[in-house]
């Protein structure tokens, strides 16, 4: 495996272009990459499409990008904790595709795994059927859900080795391992970078082959 380039958060955020699609793993800020998000807020790069479980809080986590009006649209499962997202959605400044959390992660996994889509029963019989492709298999109705790809994923991991192999911390793992697979460029913000071989190969969650850059987290 190649030794990963270690860059700073500012350089990493500078790679993002206006209009890019970014996956931001985070669950109410836990598992989000704070230095990378702050650096992206700093750039002011706008018109972004973000893919996330939830938009966190108005002043913390992913929500900072929303509050800073850098987000044009999002695919997410929850915005209830972020009044900033609610306002922009209500005013029509922010487009939202609401996706059940499990369906969202499977669509991302499909992208990273080379699948053309998945069939899921979640939400059948509800309003989310509107405008959706429905497929009947053996008498049961399913949504045919397509993959979700991104230009970037900002990962938050605990440790990396120099090859970019990653381990996480507790529930900060959440969507990180799956989102790491589905972007053109995956950048991981980590607490510590160790030599290859220092992480037990049985314990590594994300193989470094999914990772493109490492950023060392600063408090």
């Amino acid at each position: 495996m190649p030794i990963q380039e270690i860059i700073d958060a500012k350089t990493a955020a500078g790679l993002v272009r206006r209009g890019d699609r970014i996956m931001l793993p985070s669950f109410l800020t836990v598992g989000s990459a704070p230095n990378l998000i702050d650096a992206l807020v700093e750039t002011g790069t706008g018109d972004l499409h973000i893919i996330c479980i939830a938009t966190d809080f108005a002043d913390r986590g992913i929500g900072k990008l929303v509050t800073n009006k850098q987000v044009r649209s999002t695919q997410t499962s929850h915005i209830g904790t972020n009044p900033s997202t609610q306002e922009q959605y209500t005013s029509g400044d922010l487009e939202i595709e609401f996706i059940p959390q499990g369906t969202l992660i499977e669509r991302i996994r499909a992208a990273g795994s080379g699948l053309g889509g998945i069939l899921t029963p979640v939400g059948i019989g509800t309003d989310i059927e509107k405008g959706k492709e429905i497929q009947e298999v053996d008498g049961e109705r399913y949504f045919l859900e397509k993959p979700i790809f991104a230009d970037f994923t900002f990962i938050r991991a605990h440790k990396a080795d120099k090859f970019g192999n990653l381990i996480y911390s507790k529930t900060a793992r959440n969507a990180n391992p799956v989102m790491a697979m589905a972007a053109k460029i995956t950048i991981a913000e980590v607490d510590e970078i160790v030599e290859p071989g220092e992480l037990d190969p049985e314990h590594i969650i994300t193989p470094g082959i999914f990772v493109n850059y490492l950023v060392l987290h600063k408090e």
Partner: protein
């Protein structure tokens, strides 16, 4: 008698738990169920953000910034707990590996449908993991107050809010009644001690099937 506090709902639901059950408890009132698990019943609590085996709330000062439940509250590990990513977490949920999920609700109806994710034009939080939980859990339990602040029934003939799940409920537990959802309709199994059959029927918009024997809970 006056209405008890809403822990009556959590207490009654807790009695449904069987030893060894794996459950997911929604945000708010459902979370309280874990406080009333009967003695000799050991359950495993899963949360959709990626843990199987949630322990109690940590002592003050002992919180770990990376250890939360799906409501964002700090939690602790139990011995034998497991961390998972979101994909495995929802594989567990959607794949039928939970024995029970307990969800708060804005409305439920006689068909066993539930609405809890959106009040159009007013509040649009999103469904989070609620649709997945309803689709996959072995037993889906709605936990809610029987009537709203104006005294209107939340147990309707047909939900008026957009659904979270269509015909997925197994049980409806309120501060007034314990209701089983069957193919024939809603069967009133138990009445809260503080109220009466007459009151329950009056406060329920949906038709209730009233069996000969009705239990009580408190």
């Amino acid at each position: 008698m006056t209405a008890p506090d809403s822990t009556i709902i959590a207490r009654r639901i807790a009695r449904e738990l069987k030893d060894g059950n794996v459950v997911n408890l929604g945000i708010g009132m459902p979370t309280l169920v874990s406080n009333f698990v009967p003695e000799n019943v050991h359950i495993t609590i899963q949360a959709e953000n990626g843990i199987v085996g949630i322990g109690p709330i940590p002592e003050e000062g002992k919180e770990h910034r990376d250890l939360i439940n799906a409501g964002g509250g700090f939690i602790t590990e139990t011995p034998g707990c497991v961390y998972t990513d979101t994909a495995l977490s929802f594989a567990i949920i959607r794949g039928g590996h939970l024995d029970m999920t307990v969800l708060g609700a804005l409305q439920v109806d006689r068909e066993g449908s539930i609405a809890n994710w959106i009040i159009p034009g007013k509040f649009v939080p999103g469904m989070g993991g609620a649709m997945d939980l309803c689709a996959g859990a072995g037993k889906v339990v709605a936990a809610l107050k029987h009537v709203d602040k104006k005294g209107n029934s939340k147990i309707l003939k047909k939900c008026t809010l957009p659904l979270t799940a269509y015909r997925k409920l197994n049980l409806i537990v309120t501060d007034m009644a314990f209701i089983e959802v069957t193919d024939e309709g809603l069967v009133l199994r138990e009445i809260a001690e503080w109220t009466t059959l007459e009151e329950v029927v009056k406060c329920t918009e949906a038709n209730l099937i009233i069996p000969d024997t009705i239990g009580s809970f408190s």
